[in-house]
């Protein structure tokens, strides 16, 4: 079977619809992962031992199990206890939770990198806990983390095809349905691969720029 450009142009509109969902899922998932990661990182520093230990185990567990099974879990098990989620929402929660456990490590490293003196200075200025975090620690901790966070968001972007397994109509699913309709696999699958390759090659450039702009890890 040979490459057919006419067929490529014919299926392009369908694939572009899939691209939109893919990007939407990535953006929403990244936002959720950013929040979940910060929450996990803060909870693990909690003075309450039971909280920090349980959250630690929970994060470890999520990091040690496949995203696909977690997506199935959210999509199939939660409806049985009365929580019905649309596929896209289930997918975003899965992505956000899974990558949240990774970004939590980035936050942890970033927070640990803030010098001790800053904590002492905050105390000396009589700032309370919340103000210490929002005005002193996080503003210094977050910029150096940005490249590492972006790295995980790009990794998440590459995992979005998994959402097709829980019937989200993103790029991979559109490509599969097109392929199954016409029984031509070469073009749709190759286009999906090319799309991801192009985006991730562009993201390498973006990452380099972010690293120059924010990353001063080796201080």
């Amino acid at each position: 079977m040979e490459w057919d450009w006419n067929f490529v142009w014919e299926i392009m509109p369908t694939l572009i619809q899939g691209v939109k969902i893919t990007i939407l899922a990535t953006v929403l998932g990244s936002i959720l992962a950013g929040i979940v990661g910060l929450a996990i990182a803060l909870a693990r520093r909690s003075p309450n031992r039971t909280v920090s230990r349980n959250v630690g185990w929970f994060a470890e567990f999520i990091r040690g199990t496949p995203l696909l099974v977690q997506l199935y879990f959210i999509f199939y098990v939660l409806p049985d206890i009365g929580i019905l989620l649309p596929p896209l929402v289930a997918g975003v929660i899965g992505l956000g939770l899974h990558y949240g456990t990774y970004t939590a490590e980035v936050y942890r490293a970033g927070i640990d990198n803030v010098p001790r003196g800053q904590w002492e200075a905050a105390k000396a200025c009589n700032l309370n806990g919340r103000h210490t975090w929002t005005h002193v620690i996080l503003p210094q901790a977050i910029p150096p983390m940005i490249p590492a966070l972006a790295n995980y968001f790009i990794a998440m972007f590459k995992e979005t095809p998994l959402l097709s397994a829980i019937t989200v109509l993103e790029l991979m699913n559109q490509a599969k349905s097109v392929a199954n309709t016409y029984y031509r696999y070469i073009e749709p699958m190759t286009l999906v691969g090319a799309f991801f390759l192009v985006i991730s090659l562009c993201s390498v450039v973006l990452l380099r720029w972010l690293e120059r702009r924010y990353g001063r890890i080796e201080r």
């Binding site: 079977m1 696909l68 099974v69 879990f73 995992e159 691969g193």
Partner: protein, 219 residues
Amino acid sequence: MTQWSGYLGLILQGALVTIELTLMGSVLALVMAFLAGMGRVSRFFIVRAIATTYIEFFRGTSIFVQLFWAYFVLPFAGLSLTPLQAGVLALGLNVGAYAAEVVRGAILSIGREQYEACTALNLGRWQGMRHVILPQALLIMLPTFGNNAIELLKATSVVSLISLADLTFQAQVVRSQTGSTLMPFVSVLVIYFALALIISWGVRSLERRMARGLDGVRV
């Protein structure tokens, strides 16, 4: 409700397939990692170019897309693979690309003086690599290799989508036969986590073994 033991047997069969895939994929990944990783530090431009292309290509597209490409598109090019072969191929090549960067990083992290010592001892490039550089670099690679192996274990769940009867696939079978969702997915998640713990424990003890006799050599 009565035949949980039968279904558990099904899931354990799936676990065997997952373990088999993880082992075979890891072997392929290890081979590719050393080939491509050492290729990237080669003297010859063409070898470097091939290694870089391989790494960027397989890191740039997701494992899911690669697997579907291997399974659905390669047959049209005259290369029919069984699901197991396609799975091992895609997993090994994908994780191998990530691990190749680990190999490269570890080789480059060995200090200049070691290379100079090789020259002083009149060792050839290959001899120096074999007897001086790699034994030290291996120890640096090992922890990250462990993480890569866990990533590979998690990625094996994707092969269930090309009808290979691994853990995730069997969980779906049990779900569709019993209508129960909690039991199959929770047990599968626990098994994956247990496997991940075994890998990280194994790598840690291997690391301890290999570090023996190297005290004081490294800082």
